[in-house]
Symmetry: none
Subunit: 306 residues, 2 copies
Amino acid sequence: MTDFDYDLVIIGAGPAGLTAGIYAARARMNVLLLEKAVPGGQIIVTDWIENYPGFPEGISGFDLAEKMILQAEEMGLKIETAGVHSLNLDKDKKEVVLADRTISTKSLIIASGASPKKLGIGEDRYMGKGISFCATCDAPFFKDKTVVAIGGGDTAVQESIYLTKFVKKVFLLHRRDQLRAAKILQERAFASDKIEILWDTVATGVEGLFGIEGVHVRNVKTGEEKTLKADGCFIWVGTLPNAEFLGDDIITDEYGFIRTDGRMETNIPGVYAAGDIRDTPLRQVSTAVGDGAIATLAAEHYIENL
Amino acid sequence: MTDFDYDLVIIGAGPAGLTAGIYAARARMNVLLLEKAVPGGQIIVTDWIENYPGFPEGISGFDLAEKMILQAEEMGLKIETAGVHSLNLDKDKKEVVLADRTISTKSLIIASGASPKKLGIGEDRYMGKGISFCATCDAPFFKDKTVVAIGGGDTAVQESIYLTKFVKKVFLLHRRDQLRAAKILQERAFASDKIEILWDTVATGVEGLFGIEGVHVRNVKTGEEKTLKADGCFIWVGTLPNAEFLGDDIITDEYGFIRTDGRMETNIPGVYAAGDIRDTPLRQVSTAVGDGAIATLAAEHYIENL
């Protein structure tokens, strides 16, 4: 058997990757966790998490991330800041290509997460100049202003409610005639006198010279078009897998999320996926930590039988 | 459609059931959680948990259970102390038979957990004080110590091998003259200089004032009795599903654990299983909370489409 740099390489330091790392480090595996940006994943830009069991008063995403990172490091997990360029996944040898070197590993857990979907209404031009995907990050910049929020799921409604702590008014645009969000969130949104929901409505573009001054909208039932005067636009319409390095060897669903079995194994033996990157029915901290624990167990068993 | 007492009934208030309840209460479902004993599940007798993400210093099982119960109650979850006698699971009507009444529900999550099979050698007294059923949970507490492991199946042998990463020595007791475990596991156990197998040997008791200091053993062929000096005793003679009320309608594996798909759905639409009672690859708090969250999401979707 060839020599390997690692027993296990984990890609991504969100809740799934950190949990996989906690289990692997605790099992004394020779493990490396790679994170291209800041450890913590999407939760570091999540204002408040009240449904991760164990925190009766809720906890900010940033604080929860910090606790998980600390826990992983105290177990002895090595976290390296490095983006993954590509993967070479032979049956017996798995290589992870980084900018400065290529590392080999017996097993691999992909936990690179997902990112907010864009609408193509000017996100790249106006990002940081009025368009945002993160209320926690940007809400304070819109104090006493009017903003547009787009979407109808849990994130859109929850974050719109959060925005009301800062802004004067939120126009919540949803392309359908009812929200998908949890009932309790819907009730809170309906009860807020700062939130006005525009049903059956999509955004078609934004306007403004240096920042956003208005959002163009269209009613999909009546065809009516108008421009909402607004200083900001928050977009919460779904997520895309962070899968740019994946290549074609790993089977995904039609949206690019990695297919796994109940042991988190992909179509390639020894390669696992966990958390938001997986074709999971639910993308939550609770499900990510379960995925991460199972993926490491499966990787351990795989290595024992090599 | 018939009237139902509840949208969702959850059986069992361990981490899986409590998480299902947190999500259901937050989604404003008309939900009832039934627990036959003390809420918290197996973790309330788990001394210390250091691999549930979010608690860098670790947390006692009792404290974690308390936090989860408080969180569920603050979301508005109603928890009732009641054992389930039996289930009537028609396609359109699901009934849960309790001692004093029968309740009807649109959907059902079974999260009644599992229990380690006991030998009657002092498990109740020494649980968390030297006797353990879980190497993943407790091995690190026996660093450089001597432990006794009991069993001859896959779990006993695999976990004994796992123990050798931490402990100085494992006495593996098996009541027969050969192991039942997979050959590859046997080979590894035989190859380890930390594992000494005592054949035809059963444990008859343990001794120690505050924790375990020794394990009494008897050779079933020669009748010879002696005491092994040891600091811990791991018992792997089987796990039993808490399934006495289940009946024959729900498909289980050969050991009685409920079969589910990735959405936690059983063979009966609208009936879900979560946590240790499920045919899951790993029985941990992290995996139970993931199961619970997914089961409630699936139940919500099921009800919406009734």
